[in-house]
Protein backbone atom coordinates (compact mmCIF):
# COMPACT_ATOMS: atom_id res chain seq x y z
CA UNK A 1 0.00 0.00 0.00
CA UNK A 2 1.35 3.42 -0.98
CA UNK A 3 -0.29 6.69 -0.01
CA UNK A 4 0.47 10.35 -0.45
CA UNK A 5 -2.20 11.87 1.80
CA UNK A 6 -0.22 11.95 5.04
CA UNK A 7 -2.64 9.73 6.89
CA UNK A 8 -1.09 7.44 9.52
CA UNK A 9 -0.14 3.95 8.36
CA UNK A 10 1.27 1.66 11.03
CA UNK A 11 3.10 -0.58 8.56
CA UNK A 12 4.91 2.08 6.58
CA UNK A 13 8.58 1.34 5.92
CA UNK A 14 9.12 4.81 4.51
CA UNK A 15 7.14 7.71 5.95
CA UNK A 16 7.53 11.25 4.59
CA UNK A 17 5.75 14.16 6.23
CA UNK A 18 5.43 17.79 5.02
CA UNK A 19 8.70 17.55 3.12
CA UNK A 20 9.99 20.84 1.69
CA UNK A 21 13.18 21.52 -0.17
CA UNK A 22 14.07 25.04 -1.17
CA UNK A 23 17.19 26.03 -3.13
CA UNK A 24 18.47 29.57 -3.15
CA UNK A 25 20.52 30.66 -6.16
CA UNK A 26 21.56 34.29 -6.01
CA UNK A 27 18.41 36.19 -5.11
CA UNK A 28 16.12 33.51 -6.51
CA UNK A 29 14.27 30.95 -4.38
CA UNK A 30 13.32 27.64 -5.98
CA UNK A 31 10.83 25.43 -4.15
CA UNK A 32 11.73 21.97 -5.43
CA UNK A 33 9.48 19.98 -3.07
CA UNK A 34 6.43 21.48 -1.41
CA UNK A 35 4.82 19.82 1.59
CA UNK A 36 5.18 16.31 0.26
CA UNK A 37 3.69 13.32 2.11
CA UNK A 38 4.38 9.69 1.27
CA UNK A 39 3.96 6.27 2.86
CA UNK A 40 5.51 3.14 1.36
CA UNK A 41 5.14 -0.31 2.85
CA UNK A 42 7.84 -2.98 2.90
CA UNK A 43 8.18 -4.96 -0.33
CA UNK A 44 6.64 -2.31 -2.61
CA UNK A 45 8.11 -1.31 -5.97
CA UNK A 46 7.33 2.39 -6.50
CA UNK A 47 8.17 4.44 -9.57
CA UNK A 48 8.35 8.24 -9.57
CA UNK A 49 7.77 9.92 -12.90
CA UNK A 50 7.66 13.52 -13.93
CA UNK A 51 9.29 16.11 -16.16
CA UNK A 52 12.84 17.33 -15.66
CA UNK A 53 13.11 19.69 -12.70
CA UNK A 54 10.02 18.27 -11.03
CA UNK A 55 12.04 17.18 -7.98
CA UNK A 56 12.30 13.41 -8.55
CA UNK A 57 16.04 13.12 -7.92
CA UNK A 58 15.81 15.57 -5.02
CA UNK A 59 13.16 13.37 -3.43
CA UNK A 60 15.34 10.30 -3.94
CA UNK A 61 18.35 12.09 -2.41
CA UNK A 62 16.29 13.03 0.64
CA UNK A 63 14.93 9.49 1.03
CA UNK A 64 18.48 8.14 0.88
CA UNK A 65 19.92 10.65 3.33
CA UNK A 66 22.19 12.20 0.70
CA UNK A 67 20.68 15.63 1.23
CA UNK A 68 18.82 17.41 4.02
CA UNK A 69 15.34 18.92 3.64
CA UNK A 70 14.49 22.53 4.33
CA UNK A 71 11.54 21.31 6.34
CA UNK A 72 9.69 18.11 7.15
CA UNK A 73 10.68 14.60 8.20
CA UNK A 74 11.69 11.34 6.58
CA UNK A 75 11.35 8.21 8.68
CA UNK A 76 12.66 4.85 7.47
CA UNK A 77 11.97 1.69 9.44
CA UNK A 78 11.47 3.78 12.57
CA UNK A 79 14.60 5.93 12.15
CA UNK A 80 13.91 9.64 11.69
CA UNK A 81 16.78 10.16 9.30
CA UNK A 82 16.19 13.89 8.92
CA UNK A 83 17.27 14.39 12.52
CA UNK A 84 20.40 12.24 12.34
CA UNK A 85 23.84 13.89 12.54
CA UNK A 86 26.16 13.65 9.53
CA UNK A 87 28.19 10.75 10.91
CA UNK A 88 25.13 8.75 12.02
CA UNK A 89 23.45 9.39 8.68
CA UNK A 90 26.53 8.02 6.89
CA UNK A 91 26.50 4.78 8.84
CA UNK A 92 22.70 4.55 8.50
CA UNK A 93 23.11 4.86 4.72
CA UNK A 94 25.72 2.09 4.68
CA UNK A 95 23.36 -0.28 6.51
CA UNK A 96 19.98 0.55 5.03
CA UNK A 97 20.25 1.93 1.49
CA UNK A 98 21.38 0.45 -1.81
CA UNK A 99 21.87 3.04 -4.56
CA UNK A 100 21.64 2.38 -8.28
CA UNK A 101 22.58 5.28 -10.60
CA UNK A 102 21.84 6.02 -14.25
CA UNK A 103 25.58 6.10 -15.14
CA UNK A 104 26.36 2.99 -13.01
CA UNK A 105 29.08 4.93 -11.13
CA UNK A 106 31.49 2.03 -10.82
CA UNK A 107 35.09 2.74 -9.83
CA UNK A 108 37.02 2.22 -13.10
CA UNK A 109 40.27 1.00 -11.50
CA UNK A 110 38.51 -1.77 -9.59
CA UNK A 111 37.29 -5.11 -10.94
CA UNK A 112 33.62 -6.11 -10.76
CA UNK A 113 34.46 -8.12 -7.64
CA UNK A 114 36.26 -5.19 -5.97
CA UNK A 115 33.45 -2.76 -6.86
CA UNK A 116 30.88 -5.01 -5.23
CA UNK A 117 33.17 -5.55 -2.24
CA UNK A 118 33.49 -1.77 -1.58
CA UNK A 119 30.46 -1.37 0.77
CA UNK A 120 31.55 -4.49 2.68
CA UNK A 121 34.92 -2.87 3.50
CA UNK A 122 32.98 -0.73 5.95
CA UNK A 123 31.70 -3.77 7.83
CA UNK A 124 33.50 -6.07 10.25
CA UNK A 125 33.21 -9.06 7.93
CA UNK A 126 36.34 -11.14 7.36
CA UNK A 127 37.88 -11.42 3.92
CA UNK A 128 36.38 -14.90 3.46
CA UNK A 129 32.93 -13.68 4.53
CA UNK A 130 33.20 -10.72 2.18
CA UNK A 131 34.12 -13.05 -0.67
CA UNK A 132 31.06 -15.20 0.02
CA UNK A 133 28.74 -12.18 0.00
CA UNK A 134 30.26 -10.72 -3.17
CA UNK A 135 30.09 -14.03 -5.05
CA UNK A 136 26.45 -14.49 -4.03
CA UNK A 137 25.52 -10.96 -5.16
CA UNK A 138 27.31 -11.30 -8.50
CA UNK A 139 25.78 -14.72 -9.10
CA UNK A 140 22.33 -13.26 -8.39
CA UNK A 141 22.78 -10.65 -11.12
CA UNK A 142 24.18 -13.29 -13.51
CA UNK A 143 27.80 -12.11 -13.50
CA UNK A 144 29.45 -14.90 -11.54
CA UNK A 145 31.85 -15.40 -14.44
CA UNK A 146 32.80 -11.74 -14.83
CA UNK A 147 34.20 -11.08 -11.36
CA UNK A 148 37.70 -10.15 -12.50
CA UNK A 149 36.56 -7.93 -15.34
CA UNK A 150 37.06 -4.18 -15.15
CA UNK A 151 34.12 -1.86 -15.95
CA UNK A 152 35.70 -0.97 -19.32
CA UNK A 153 35.58 -4.67 -20.23
CA UNK A 154 31.82 -4.90 -19.60
CA UNK A 155 28.78 -3.76 -21.60
CA UNK A 156 26.48 -1.04 -20.23
CA UNK A 157 23.95 -3.62 -19.11
CA UNK A 158 26.62 -5.66 -17.37
CA UNK A 159 27.98 -2.56 -15.65
CA UNK A 160 24.53 -1.77 -14.35
CA UNK A 161 24.19 -5.32 -13.08
CA UNK A 162 27.47 -4.93 -11.20
CA UNK A 163 26.05 -1.71 -9.75
CA UNK A 164 22.93 -3.63 -8.66
CA UNK A 165 25.11 -6.32 -7.07
CA UNK A 166 26.97 -3.56 -5.21
CA UNK A 167 23.64 -2.12 -4.05
CA UNK A 168 22.28 -5.43 -2.71
CA UNK A 169 25.48 -6.97 -1.31
CA UNK A 170 24.88 -5.51 2.17
CA UNK A 171 21.22 -6.64 2.10
CA UNK A 172 19.90 -3.07 2.57
CA UNK A 173 16.43 -2.14 3.79
CA UNK A 174 15.53 -0.62 0.44
CA UNK A 175 16.91 0.20 -2.99
CA UNK A 176 16.90 3.68 -4.51
CA UNK A 177 17.25 3.71 -8.28
CA UNK A 178 17.84 6.92 -10.20
CA UNK A 179 17.01 6.30 -13.89
CA UNK A 180 18.56 2.80 -13.80
CA UNK A 181 17.76 2.17 -17.49
CA UNK A 182 18.37 5.72 -18.71
CA UNK A 183 21.68 4.91 -20.36
CA UNK A 184 20.81 1.48 -21.75
CA UNK A 185 19.41 0.09 -24.98
CA UNK A 186 15.95 -1.52 -24.86
CA UNK A 187 17.20 -5.09 -24.47
CA UNK A 188 19.61 -4.27 -21.66
CA UNK A 189 16.96 -2.08 -20.03
CA UNK A 190 14.50 -4.99 -20.05
CA UNK A 191 17.12 -7.24 -18.44
CA UNK A 192 17.74 -4.71 -15.68
CA UNK A 193 14.01 -4.26 -15.10
CA UNK A 194 13.59 -8.05 -14.97
CA UNK A 195 16.28 -8.15 -12.34
CA UNK A 196 14.67 -5.40 -10.26
CA UNK A 197 11.28 -7.10 -10.51
CA UNK A 198 12.90 -10.36 -9.38
CA UNK A 199 14.52 -8.62 -6.42
CA UNK A 200 11.13 -7.32 -5.36
CA UNK A 201 9.01 -10.40 -6.02
CA UNK A 202 11.43 -13.15 -4.98
CA UNK A 203 13.62 -11.41 -2.41
CA UNK A 204 11.07 -8.98 -0.98
CA UNK A 205 13.14 -5.87 -1.66
CA UNK A 206 11.50 -2.46 -1.37
CA UNK A 207 12.41 -0.44 -4.44
CA UNK A 208 11.92 3.28 -5.08
CA UNK A 209 12.78 4.21 -8.66
CA UNK A 210 12.91 7.51 -10.52
CA UNK A 211 12.40 7.13 -14.26
CA UNK A 212 11.39 8.93 -17.43
CA UNK A 213 10.69 5.65 -19.16
CA UNK A 214 6.98 4.60 -19.15
CA UNK A 215 8.00 1.00 -19.91
CA UNK A 216 10.18 0.98 -16.82
CA UNK A 217 7.41 2.53 -14.74
CA UNK A 218 5.05 -0.22 -15.88
CA UNK A 219 7.12 -2.74 -13.92
CA UNK A 220 6.40 -0.94 -10.64
CA UNK A 221 3.48 -1.80 -8.36
CA UNK A 222 2.69 1.89 -8.06
CA UNK A 223 3.54 4.91 -10.22
CA UNK A 224 3.56 8.37 -8.64
CA UNK A 225 3.81 11.58 -10.65
CA UNK A 226 5.72 14.57 -9.46
CA UNK A 227 5.14 17.97 -10.95
CA UNK A 228 6.78 21.14 -9.66
CA UNK A 229 7.49 19.53 -6.33
CA UNK A 230 4.03 18.19 -5.70
CA UNK A 231 2.74 14.63 -5.97
CA UNK A 232 -0.20 15.52 -8.12
CA UNK A 233 -1.57 12.23 -9.31
CA UNK A 234 -1.23 8.57 -8.61
CA UNK A 235 -1.79 5.51 -10.70
CA UNK A 236 -4.42 2.91 -9.93
CA UNK A 237 -4.08 1.20 -6.59
CA UNK A 238 -2.74 4.27 -4.81
CA UNK A 239 -4.67 6.00 -2.09
CA UNK A 240 -4.84 9.73 -2.66
CA UNK A 241 -6.40 12.09 -0.21
Amino acid sequence: MVSIDGSTHENSLVRVRDLNKVYRRGGETIEVLQGLNLDVERGEFVAFMGPSGSGKTTLLNLLGGLDTPTDGTVTVDGDVITSLSGRKLTSWRARHVGFIFQMYNLIPVLTAYQNVELPLLLTKLSKAQRRKHVETALALVGLGDRMEHYPRQLSGGQEQRVAIARAIVTDPTFLLCDEPTGDLDRTSAEEILDLLTELESEHGKTILMVTHDPLAAERADVVLHLDKGILVEAAEGTTVS
Binding site: L66, G86, S91, R93, L110
Partner: protein, 379 residues
Protein backbone atom coordinates in the same frame (compact mmCIF):
# COMPACT_ATOMS: atom_id res chain seq x y z
CA UNK B 1 44.81 -2.62 5.84
CA UNK B 2 41.76 -3.74 3.83
CA UNK B 3 41.77 -0.36 2.04
CA UNK B 4 45.38 -0.79 0.87
CA UNK B 5 44.59 -2.47 -2.50
CA UNK B 6 42.06 0.29 -3.19
CA UNK B 7 44.59 3.00 -2.33
CA UNK B 8 47.25 1.46 -4.60
CA UNK B 9 44.78 1.06 -7.47
CA UNK B 10 43.97 4.76 -7.23
CA UNK B 11 47.61 5.69 -6.89
CA UNK B 12 48.59 4.11 -10.18
CA UNK B 13 45.55 5.01 -12.24
CA UNK B 14 47.74 7.75 -13.82
CA UNK B 15 51.03 5.87 -13.82
CA UNK B 16 53.13 8.49 -15.61
CA UNK B 17 52.04 11.28 -13.31
CA UNK B 18 52.59 9.23 -10.17
CA UNK B 19 56.01 8.02 -11.33
CA UNK B 20 57.08 11.57 -12.25
CA UNK B 21 55.95 12.86 -8.86
CA UNK B 22 57.79 10.07 -7.06
CA UNK B 23 60.84 10.89 -9.23
CA UNK B 24 60.67 14.59 -8.26
CA UNK B 25 60.56 13.71 -4.59
CA UNK B 26 63.42 11.23 -4.99
CA UNK B 27 65.61 13.82 -6.76
CA UNK B 28 64.82 16.47 -4.15
CA UNK B 29 65.61 14.09 -1.29
CA UNK B 30 68.80 13.01 -3.06
CA UNK B 31 69.87 16.67 -3.24
CA UNK B 32 68.96 17.17 0.41
CA UNK B 33 70.87 14.05 1.47
CA UNK B 34 73.94 15.06 -0.49
CA UNK B 35 73.97 18.56 1.02
CA UNK B 36 73.57 17.18 4.52
CA UNK B 37 76.39 14.69 3.91
CA UNK B 38 78.70 17.44 2.69
CA UNK B 39 77.77 19.64 5.63
CA UNK B 40 78.37 16.79 8.06
CA UNK B 41 81.70 15.99 6.43
CA UNK B 42 82.82 19.60 6.70
CA UNK B 43 81.81 19.79 10.33
CA UNK B 44 82.99 16.29 11.26
CA UNK B 45 85.92 17.72 13.21
CA UNK B 46 83.57 19.87 15.25
CA UNK B 47 81.39 16.96 16.24
CA UNK B 48 84.21 14.76 17.50
CA UNK B 49 86.46 17.47 18.92
CA UNK B 50 87.46 16.84 22.54
CA UNK B 51 85.80 19.01 25.16
CA UNK B 52 88.87 18.77 27.37
CA UNK B 53 91.40 19.84 24.73
CA UNK B 54 92.59 23.30 23.81
CA UNK B 55 94.34 24.38 20.63
CA UNK B 56 97.05 27.01 20.98
CA UNK B 57 98.03 28.76 17.75
CA UNK B 58 99.90 31.88 16.72
CA UNK B 59 97.63 34.89 17.32
CA UNK B 60 98.42 36.33 13.88
CA UNK B 61 97.47 33.24 11.87
CA UNK B 62 97.36 29.49 11.97
CA UNK B 63 100.10 29.32 9.37
CA UNK B 64 102.51 31.30 11.57
CA UNK B 65 104.63 29.04 13.85
CA UNK B 66 105.15 29.00 17.61
CA UNK B 67 108.46 28.36 19.42
CA UNK B 68 109.15 24.82 20.64
CA UNK B 69 110.05 26.27 24.04
CA UNK B 70 106.39 27.04 24.72
CA UNK B 71 105.68 23.35 25.38
CA UNK B 72 107.43 23.34 28.75
CA UNK B 73 106.04 26.74 29.73
CA UNK B 74 102.49 25.61 29.00
CA UNK B 75 103.06 22.44 31.02
CA UNK B 76 103.78 24.60 34.07
CA UNK B 77 100.30 26.18 34.01
CA UNK B 78 97.80 24.85 36.55
CA UNK B 79 95.23 22.28 35.39
CA UNK B 80 97.26 21.34 32.29
CA UNK B 81 97.75 17.57 32.26
CA UNK B 82 99.61 17.20 28.94
CA UNK B 83 100.80 19.27 25.98
CA UNK B 84 101.62 18.01 22.53
CA UNK B 85 102.32 19.73 19.23
CA UNK B 86 102.17 19.18 15.50
CA UNK B 87 103.31 20.94 12.34
CA UNK B 88 101.47 20.96 9.04
CA UNK B 89 103.63 19.33 6.37
CA UNK B 90 101.50 19.80 3.23
CA UNK B 91 103.39 17.44 0.86
CA UNK B 92 102.04 15.78 -2.28
CA UNK B 93 101.82 12.06 -2.93
CA UNK B 94 102.26 11.51 -6.68
CA UNK B 95 99.58 14.02 -7.70
CA UNK B 96 98.13 17.16 -6.00
CA UNK B 97 94.64 15.64 -6.14
CA UNK B 98 95.79 12.83 -3.79
CA UNK B 99 95.31 15.11 -0.82
CA UNK B 100 95.52 13.86 2.76
CA UNK B 101 96.64 15.78 5.88
CA UNK B 102 100.21 15.17 7.05
CA UNK B 103 101.47 16.23 10.48
CA UNK B 104 104.94 16.16 12.00
CA UNK B 105 104.08 15.17 15.58
CA UNK B 106 105.66 15.07 19.00
CA UNK B 107 105.88 11.30 19.38
CA UNK B 108 106.35 11.45 23.13
CA UNK B 109 103.02 13.07 23.95
CA UNK B 110 100.73 12.75 20.92
CA UNK B 111 99.14 9.42 21.86
CA UNK B 112 98.39 10.61 25.39
CA UNK B 113 96.50 13.67 24.13
CA UNK B 114 94.66 11.80 21.34
CA UNK B 115 93.71 8.44 22.92
CA UNK B 116 90.79 7.99 20.48
CA UNK B 117 93.23 6.91 17.76
CA UNK B 118 93.97 3.22 18.28
CA UNK B 119 97.30 1.74 17.26
CA UNK B 120 98.66 -1.72 17.99
CA UNK B 121 101.45 -1.39 20.58
CA UNK B 122 104.00 -3.35 18.54
CA UNK B 123 103.36 -1.11 15.53
CA UNK B 124 103.73 2.02 17.67
CA UNK B 125 107.03 0.78 19.09
CA UNK B 126 108.21 0.04 15.56
CA UNK B 127 107.24 3.60 14.58
CA UNK B 128 109.14 5.10 17.53
CA UNK B 129 112.22 3.11 16.62
CA UNK B 130 112.32 4.34 13.03
CA UNK B 131 113.28 8.02 12.52
CA UNK B 132 111.65 7.96 9.08
CA UNK B 133 108.67 5.98 10.31
CA UNK B 134 105.10 7.09 9.72
CA UNK B 135 101.65 6.27 11.05
CA UNK B 136 98.78 6.44 8.60
CA UNK B 137 95.01 6.36 9.07
CA UNK B 138 93.10 3.31 7.90
CA UNK B 139 91.13 5.25 5.24
CA UNK B 140 94.23 6.70 3.60
CA UNK B 141 96.05 3.36 3.78
CA UNK B 142 93.13 1.64 2.04
CA UNK B 143 92.83 4.47 -0.48
CA UNK B 144 96.41 4.06 -1.72
CA UNK B 145 96.78 0.36 -0.91
CA UNK B 146 99.51 1.02 1.65
CA UNK B 147 100.51 -1.55 4.24
CA UNK B 148 102.98 -1.67 7.10
CA UNK B 149 106.51 -1.84 5.72
CA UNK B 150 105.82 0.18 2.54
CA UNK B 151 108.17 3.06 1.70
CA UNK B 152 106.30 6.18 0.66
CA UNK B 153 107.85 9.15 -1.16
CA UNK B 154 106.21 12.56 -0.63
CA UNK B 155 107.01 15.70 -2.58
CA UNK B 156 107.47 18.61 -0.16
CA UNK B 157 105.74 21.92 -0.91
CA UNK B 158 106.60 23.93 2.23
CA UNK B 159 109.93 22.20 2.71
CA UNK B 160 110.86 21.19 -0.83
CA UNK B 161 112.46 18.00 -2.05
CA UNK B 162 111.47 14.37 -1.88
CA UNK B 163 110.77 13.05 1.62
CA UNK B 164 110.66 9.32 2.13
CA UNK B 165 108.78 7.58 4.93
CA UNK B 166 108.33 3.99 6.09
CA UNK B 167 104.81 3.01 7.06
CA UNK B 168 105.22 1.51 10.52
CA UNK B 169 101.68 1.66 11.88
CA UNK B 170 98.07 2.05 10.80
CA UNK B 171 95.64 3.70 13.19
CA UNK B 172 91.88 3.47 13.52
CA UNK B 173 89.45 5.84 15.19
CA UNK B 174 87.43 4.53 18.11
CA UNK B 175 84.36 6.71 17.35
CA UNK B 176 82.19 6.97 14.23
CA UNK B 177 83.33 10.47 13.29
CA UNK B 178 87.06 10.11 13.93
CA UNK B 179 89.30 11.21 11.06
CA UNK B 180 91.15 8.20 9.68
CA UNK B 181 92.89 10.02 6.84
CA UNK B 182 95.85 11.56 8.68
CA UNK B 183 99.53 10.81 8.16
CA UNK B 184 101.90 11.33 11.10
CA UNK B 185 105.66 11.26 11.24
CA UNK B 186 108.40 12.31 13.67
CA UNK B 187 108.68 16.06 14.22
CA UNK B 188 112.35 15.43 15.04
CA UNK B 189 112.86 14.04 11.53
CA UNK B 190 111.36 17.22 10.08
CA UNK B 191 113.44 19.36 12.41
CA UNK B 192 116.76 17.80 11.44
CA UNK B 193 115.97 17.73 7.72
CA UNK B 194 114.36 21.11 7.04
CA UNK B 195 116.30 24.18 5.97
CA UNK B 196 114.24 26.82 7.75
CA UNK B 197 111.75 27.19 10.57
CA UNK B 198 113.88 25.23 12.97
CA UNK B 199 112.86 25.30 16.62
CA UNK B 200 109.22 25.98 15.83
CA UNK B 201 105.97 24.00 15.75
CA UNK B 202 102.62 24.59 14.03
CA UNK B 203 100.34 24.51 17.04
CA UNK B 204 99.97 22.99 20.47
CA UNK B 205 97.16 20.83 21.73
CA UNK B 206 96.67 21.06 25.48
CA UNK B 207 94.82 18.51 27.58
CA UNK B 208 93.22 20.01 30.68
CA UNK B 209 92.39 18.08 33.81
CA UNK B 210 88.72 19.10 33.75
CA UNK B 211 86.63 20.62 30.92
CA UNK B 212 85.33 23.18 33.43
CA UNK B 213 88.86 24.61 33.62
CA UNK B 214 89.20 25.08 29.85
CA UNK B 215 88.34 28.78 29.89
CA UNK B 216 90.65 29.50 32.80
CA UNK B 217 93.57 27.62 31.22
CA UNK B 218 93.12 29.20 27.79
CA UNK B 219 93.14 32.70 29.35
CA UNK B 220 96.23 31.85 31.37
CA UNK B 221 98.10 30.56 28.29
CA UNK B 222 97.35 33.68 26.25
CA UNK B 223 98.31 35.90 29.20
CA UNK B 224 101.57 34.04 29.59
CA UNK B 225 102.66 34.82 26.04
CA UNK B 226 101.11 38.29 25.75
CA UNK B 227 103.44 41.02 24.47
CA UNK B 228 105.95 38.42 23.26
CA UNK B 229 107.18 37.96 19.68
CA UNK B 230 104.84 34.97 19.36
CA UNK B 231 101.53 35.85 20.98
CA UNK B 232 99.05 33.02 21.18
CA UNK B 233 95.35 32.52 20.59
CA UNK B 234 93.89 29.64 22.59
CA UNK B 235 90.46 28.12 22.15
CA UNK B 236 88.76 24.79 22.69
CA UNK B 237 89.37 22.19 20.04
CA UNK B 238 85.67 22.36 19.16
CA UNK B 239 85.76 26.13 18.59
CA UNK B 240 88.97 25.72 16.61
CA UNK B 241 87.40 23.05 14.36
CA UNK B 242 84.26 25.16 13.90
CA UNK B 243 86.22 28.26 12.88
CA UNK B 244 88.27 26.08 10.51
CA UNK B 245 85.07 24.82 8.87
CA UNK B 246 83.70 28.34 8.64
CA UNK B 247 86.61 29.37 6.45
CA UNK B 248 84.73 27.65 3.61
CA UNK B 249 81.55 29.58 4.39
CA UNK B 250 78.40 29.13 6.43
CA UNK B 251 77.68 25.67 5.09
CA UNK B 252 74.82 25.00 7.48
CA UNK B 253 73.06 28.16 6.32
CA UNK B 254 73.64 27.19 2.70
CA UNK B 255 72.25 23.71 3.28
CA UNK B 256 69.22 25.10 5.10
CA UNK B 257 68.50 27.65 2.35
CA UNK B 258 68.79 25.19 -0.52
CA UNK B 259 66.93 22.56 1.50
CA UNK B 260 64.06 24.97 2.18
CA UNK B 261 63.72 25.88 -1.51
CA UNK B 262 63.80 22.21 -2.50
CA UNK B 263 61.17 21.28 0.05
CA UNK B 264 58.89 24.15 -0.95
CA UNK B 265 59.13 23.05 -4.58
CA UNK B 266 58.38 19.50 -3.49
CA UNK B 267 55.33 20.70 -1.64
CA UNK B 268 54.02 22.38 -4.79
CA UNK B 269 54.71 19.36 -7.01
CA UNK B 270 53.11 16.83 -4.67
CA UNK B 271 50.29 19.19 -3.75
CA UNK B 272 49.48 19.72 -7.42
CA UNK B 273 49.45 15.98 -8.10
CA UNK B 274 47.08 15.31 -5.24
CA UNK B 275 44.85 18.27 -6.12
CA UNK B 276 44.55 16.95 -9.68
CA UNK B 277 43.91 13.42 -8.44
CA UNK B 278 41.06 14.62 -6.23
CA UNK B 279 39.62 16.97 -8.88
CA UNK B 280 39.42 14.11 -11.39
CA UNK B 281 37.72 11.82 -8.92
CA UNK B 282 35.05 14.08 -7.44
CA UNK B 283 32.14 11.92 -8.71
CA UNK B 284 33.84 8.75 -7.45
CA UNK B 285 34.36 10.33 -4.05
CA UNK B 286 30.66 11.19 -4.11
CA UNK B 287 29.85 7.53 -4.84
CA UNK B 288 32.06 6.36 -1.97
CA UNK B 289 30.26 8.69 0.40
CA UNK B 290 26.92 7.50 -0.95
CA UNK B 291 27.95 3.92 -0.18
CA UNK B 292 28.62 4.92 3.43
CA UNK B 293 32.29 5.92 3.45
CA UNK B 294 32.56 8.51 6.19
CA UNK B 295 34.25 11.89 5.77
CA UNK B 296 37.12 10.64 7.93
CA UNK B 297 37.59 7.55 5.76
CA UNK B 298 37.68 9.66 2.59
CA UNK B 299 40.22 11.98 4.25
CA UNK B 300 42.28 8.93 5.20
CA UNK B 301 42.18 7.47 1.68
CA UNK B 302 43.37 10.69 -0.01
CA UNK B 303 46.02 11.41 2.63
CA UNK B 304 47.28 7.84 2.38
CA UNK B 305 47.85 8.24 -1.35
CA UNK B 306 49.84 11.41 -0.78
CA UNK B 307 51.82 9.80 2.03
CA UNK B 308 52.63 6.69 0.01
CA UNK B 309 53.85 8.77 -2.96
CA UNK B 310 56.04 10.85 -0.64
CA UNK B 311 57.35 7.86 1.28
CA UNK B 312 58.30 5.93 -1.87
CA UNK B 313 60.01 9.05 -3.29
CA UNK B 314 61.74 9.69 0.03
CA UNK B 315 62.99 6.11 0.37
CA UNK B 316 64.27 6.18 -3.21
CA UNK B 317 66.07 9.50 -2.74
CA UNK B 318 67.58 8.55 0.60
CA UNK B 319 68.56 5.13 -0.78
CA UNK B 320 70.33 6.78 -3.70
CA UNK B 321 72.29 9.03 -1.33
CA UNK B 322 73.27 6.00 0.75
CA UNK B 323 74.45 4.19 -2.38
CA UNK B 324 76.37 7.27 -3.51
CA UNK B 325 78.10 7.72 -0.16
CA UNK B 326 79.03 4.04 0.11
CA UNK B 327 81.63 4.81 -2.54
CA UNK B 328 83.41 7.08 -0.03
CA UNK B 329 84.80 10.58 -0.42
CA UNK B 330 84.24 11.67 -4.05
CA UNK B 331 86.66 14.63 -3.70
CA UNK B 332 89.75 12.54 -3.09
CA UNK B 333 90.45 13.66 0.44
CA UNK B 334 88.71 17.00 1.02
CA UNK B 335 85.76 15.33 2.74
CA UNK B 336 87.21 12.41 4.69
CA UNK B 337 84.01 11.86 6.69
CA UNK B 338 81.70 11.52 3.66
CA UNK B 339 79.06 9.44 5.39
CA UNK B 340 75.22 9.45 5.38
CA UNK B 341 74.21 8.34 8.86
CA UNK B 342 71.07 6.35 9.75
CA UNK B 343 69.88 9.39 11.74
CA UNK B 344 70.12 11.62 8.69
CA UNK B 345 68.36 8.95 6.61
CA UNK B 346 65.52 8.92 9.11
CA UNK B 347 65.31 12.73 9.01
CA UNK B 348 65.17 12.59 5.19
CA UNK B 349 62.32 10.09 5.20
CA UNK B 350 60.64 12.11 7.92
CA UNK B 351 60.82 15.22 5.75
CA UNK B 352 59.32 13.30 2.82
CA UNK B 353 56.46 12.06 4.99
CA UNK B 354 55.86 15.58 6.36
CA UNK B 355 55.76 16.93 2.79
CA UNK B 356 53.31 14.15 1.87
CA UNK B 357 51.07 15.09 4.79
CA UNK B 358 51.22 18.81 4.07
CA UNK B 359 50.73 18.40 0.32
CA UNK B 360 47.86 15.97 0.74
CA UNK B 361 46.06 17.80 3.50
CA UNK B 362 44.29 20.45 1.41
CA UNK B 363 43.03 18.03 -1.29
CA UNK B 364 42.10 15.54 1.44
CA UNK B 365 40.12 18.13 3.40
CA UNK B 366 38.46 19.26 0.15
CA UNK B 367 37.47 15.64 -0.54
CA UNK B 368 36.26 15.24 3.02
CA UNK B 369 33.97 18.26 2.77
CA UNK B 370 32.52 17.35 -0.63
CA UNK B 371 28.71 17.36 -0.58
CA UNK B 372 27.42 14.14 -2.10
CA UNK B 373 24.74 15.78 -4.24
CA UNK B 374 27.27 18.26 -5.68
CA UNK B 375 29.80 15.50 -6.36
CA UNK B 376 27.27 13.22 -8.06
CA UNK B 377 26.08 16.10 -10.24
CA UNK B 378 29.52 16.12 -11.90
CA UNK B 379 29.11 12.58 -13.28
Amino acid sequence: MKFLPFIFRNLFRKKTRTILTIGSIAVALFLYGLLVTIETALNAGVDVAGVDRLVVRNKISLIMPLPLSYQERIRQIDHVSEVTFATWFGAIYQDPKNFFPQFAIDTESYRTVFPEFRIADDQWQSFLADRQGAVVGKTTAERFGWKVGDRIPLQGTIWTGTWEFNIRAIYQGSRAGDDETQFWFHWKFLEESRQWGKGTVGWYTVKVDDPDNSLLVSRKIDETFANSAYETSTETEQAFAASFAKQIGNIRMLVLSIGAVVLFTLLLVTGNTMAMAVRERVPELGVLKTLGFSDATVLFLVLSESLIIAAIGGLLGVGLVKLFTLGGDPTGGMLPMFYFSPGEMAVGIGIAVAVGLAAGSIPAVTAMHLRIVDALRRV
